[in-house]
Amino acid sequence: MKKTDLVIIGGGPAGLAAAIAAYENGIRDILILERDVALGGILNQCIHAGFGLHRFGEELTGPEYASRFVKKVLELGIPVKTGAMVTDLTSDRKVTYVSEEDGKVELQAGAVILAMGARERSRGALNIPGSRPAGVYTAGTAQRYVNIKGCMPGKNVVILGSGDIGLIMARRMTLEGANVKAVCELLPYSGGLARNIAQCLNDFNIPLLLSHTVTEIHGKDRLTGVTISEVDERRKPIHGTEQYIECDTLLLSCGLLPENELTKKAGIKLDRVTGGAVVNSMRETSVPGIFSCGNVLHIHDLVDYVSDEGEVCGIYASMFLKGKCETANDTIALKPAGIVRYTVPQVISSKDEDVRVFFRVGENKRNAKIEVLSGDTVLLSKRKQRVAPGEMENITITKSMLEKAGAELTVNIGREDQ
């Protein structure tokens, strides 16, 4: 069986950053396996601007951001295979991929970085009642048709879900001549950035209907319309509030789900909340030598953080390959509490240097007090003007705090005001 030091599964922003970091840390025998025809991942179809402000100090479009990394990978001569789908991964790091060029290939990897990204929640997973006509798409699939294939999925559009992808597609479809009639959002607030509400909806007078959802899909062969309803505090449709909107296209932007089929195959422990692997500060999973970064680990809002995370994987995978990575025995579990839904990493070590911990909250809160506690002892307390589910946050737990920690630390934002 062919041996490869570092196999990176996924050639999107996470995988590309990981590859470059590994190379810069001395690893040469790298292989990036990308299932699509080109490197760049989902960024290739994200033709809008808004990427790279933190990292490059400028606002780039998706392809431009991707190109910075793709060019570097090609310059450094890092081996890449496109059109290569990884179909199996074992806990002893055997990677199987299939490609038109090579057929089925098995590799024994020294280390593996999981960077497979995410997929969209489908209509089926949303259980929207009604018929099953053509014209119902997830926003990302529609985006691929529009931006890569140059085809319009429809003319009269309703969008369910006000996350950024839905908002971006509202504008994109409008600028290609479609009539976007409404964006419906189940929650009483939008999950997307305020700037996107402004520049994608308000600029085009597209109504945003909060606390609304689609309760029926109509049409036999092709969509003819949707029924929307208002929902109550429990997000259940309120009977009597139904409205019919005639349309031929329904775009669904109802959440991204990390694609962890391979992760499961390798027997790696998953976090029920993130849907991604449980990792330590090195982004190493429960299987030594297998690391994870990007949307497959937890869904990100900013690609800049995806690149940072990729770099962490690249650095530590290199150290692992050089035999310099000690799997810590004295681990500290990080427990989310209050409105904090999860943390990444989920596990850290008392031997770590300062650790930047990323987390998300489950509800909007103003004047939030973020606390890190060891039992009842408050190690860190910080106030933030606003926290929201749609915006990933982070705090730094310093080395000296780690030395005072027990076996468990809690990251808490209380529901009640303090």
Partner: protein
């Protein structure tokens, strides 16, 4: 001029076509939709029933038990996924315990082998996820699960490979008795002549029978909604778990599928419109309540899709299979229609021979299928990530009898689009492949035939 025209290319029409293709007769299959298996065959529980449910002495009972015994071999020959996992009917109180006993007795009378009555504890021992409220159960080891549309597609493919012709988008609107048999006309003007006609038009079998003056029965639609769970949930239970049946049907079940998913449902609601295949909020709620009663820990978070099938409920309460002047009716074939299909095929063949069809067998009949092989390297390009389906398999589906012509056709033959992401990733690629293989513009590719085009235009055309 054909010897036999079969109206309706579902699993019944398909299995009959395959059976007839053994003989030196020419057969034409007429199907009103853009592809085969678009009626009840495409949306049902996929159960091969043991046969204790149907009334003793009924055609349903006879066809069920015989069909069940034939299914394993046929599935193997045709390369269709089948698993003899067994089924269990569970009871929750004394009244239902009595029903279980009655089903057992009926099963024995119907000739169902290996039936056993279990206590609640015994049931939970073999199937740990069964509810603790279960008091007794009927175990039927001869029951199985199969992919129903795969069976239809494979049997039609086999029939076509052996000489049968398939005509799609061919909705029959007229049947005239002629000197030598029948003239069958379609909505688009095409006309076919044959000696014999077999009517297996499902929901519309009453209408077709009436067109030929061979009617006398009615078929009404009874809707059944389903939910399908991710393959991760496929091992929740091994057996197909039924509740005690009511007059509306066999009730909501929990079962693994032949492809490894978990299926929940169906509901059972009489409706008016034979084209109404909607799922409803109430229906989906009913399923949730129903499955939670019988089985613990049903992973509703793992639901990946829901759909509705329409049963053809015949007005006589039994299958309506008869022959007169060379016209054979196969009406009201609701459950256990799928299970019965191999037996119905033989029964209909015998009716046709009795009516004068030549009983000479072909010497060179091929019982399996001729599968188109794409260029080897195409099998290395994975298109559907969730189900790991290659471009080669998709190309093969487009060129193997009966050929796929649309997205749903590729989906039903290859499973591309049936995984977790439900085609979110692969659909644009599948559409491109269909367009290329059938020399279509991408804008002409449909989900399920004319009127269901995926795309409405190109960008940059404002």
């Amino acid at each position: 001029m054909y010897d036999v025209i079969i109206i309706g290319a579902g699993v019944i029409g398909g299995m009959i076509a395959r059976e007839l293709s053994k003989y030196k007769v020419s057969t034409a299959l007429l199907e009103k939709e853009n592809d085969v298996a678009r009626g009840a065959t495409g949306a049902n529980s996929g159960i091969v029933h043991a046969g204790f449910d149907a009334k003793e002495g009924s055609l349903k009972a006879k066809m069920n038990v015989l069909g069940c015994s034939l299914m394993e071999d046929i599935a193997k020959t045709l390369g269709v996924h089948y698993r003899k996992n067994g089924s269990i009917v569970v009871a929750f109180d004394e009244e239902q315990d009595e029903t279980v006993k009655a089903l057992y007795e009926r099963g024995v009378k119907n000739g169902v082998p290996e039936l056993r009555i279990l206590t609640g504890d015994e049931a939970r021992e073999i199937e740990p996820k069964l509810s603790k409220n279960i008091t007794s159960a009927l175990l039927a080891p001869t029951a199985g699960i199969i992919c129903p549309y795969s069976l239809a597609i494979a049997s039609i493919g086999c029939a076509m490979d052996n000489g049968a012709s398939l005509f799609t988008n061919c909705e029959v609107c007229g049947i005239e008795k002629t000197k030598d048999g029948y003239k069958v006309t379609a909505k688009d003007g095409r006309a076919f002549e044959s000696r014999f006609v077999v009517n297996c038009a499902g929901l519309y079998s009453d209408k077709i029978a009436d067109l030929a003056g061979k009617g006398g029965f009615k078929v009404h639609p009874r809707s059944g909604e389903y939910m399908l769970c991710d393959k991760d949930a496929g091992e929740l239970v091994n057996l197909t778990v039924f509740k005690v049946p009511t007059k509306m049907g066999k009730g909501i079940l929990v079962s693994p599928t032949a492809d490894g998913n978990l299926i929940l449902g169906p509901t059972s609601t009489d409706i008016e419109d034979k084209e109404d295949r909607r799922t409803t909020e109430e229906g989906l709620d009913q399923i949730v309540r129903g499955v939670n009663e019988s089985v613990d820990d049903v992973p509703l978070r793992a639901v990946i899709t829901s759909f509705t099938g329409l049963r053809s409920v015949g007005s006589t309460g039994d299958f309506i299979i008869n022959e007169s002047e060379g016209f054979v009716n196969c009406g009201g074939v609701e459950s256990p229609g799928l299970t019965s299909s191999p037996a119905i095929a033989i029964y209909v063949r015998n009716l046709l021979i009795g009516a004068g069809m030549e009983p000479d067998l072909k010497e060179d009949w091929n019982p399996g299928r001729k599968v188109f092989k794409a260029e080897p390297k195409k099998y290395g390009r994975i298109i559907c990530r969730c189900e790991t389906i290659s471009e080669g398999e998709i190309i093969s589906a487009i060129h193997t009898n009966p050929p796929a012509k649309d997205i749903d056709g590729v989906k039903k033959r290859t499973r591309s689009g049936m995984g977790r992401c439900q085609g979110g990733f692969c659909q644009p690629f599948v559409a491109e492949i269909i367009a290329r293989e059938l020399s279509l513009d991408l804008l002409q590719v449909t989900k399920s035939g004319k009127g269901s085009e995926l795309l409405t235009g190109r960008t940059k055309e404002v």
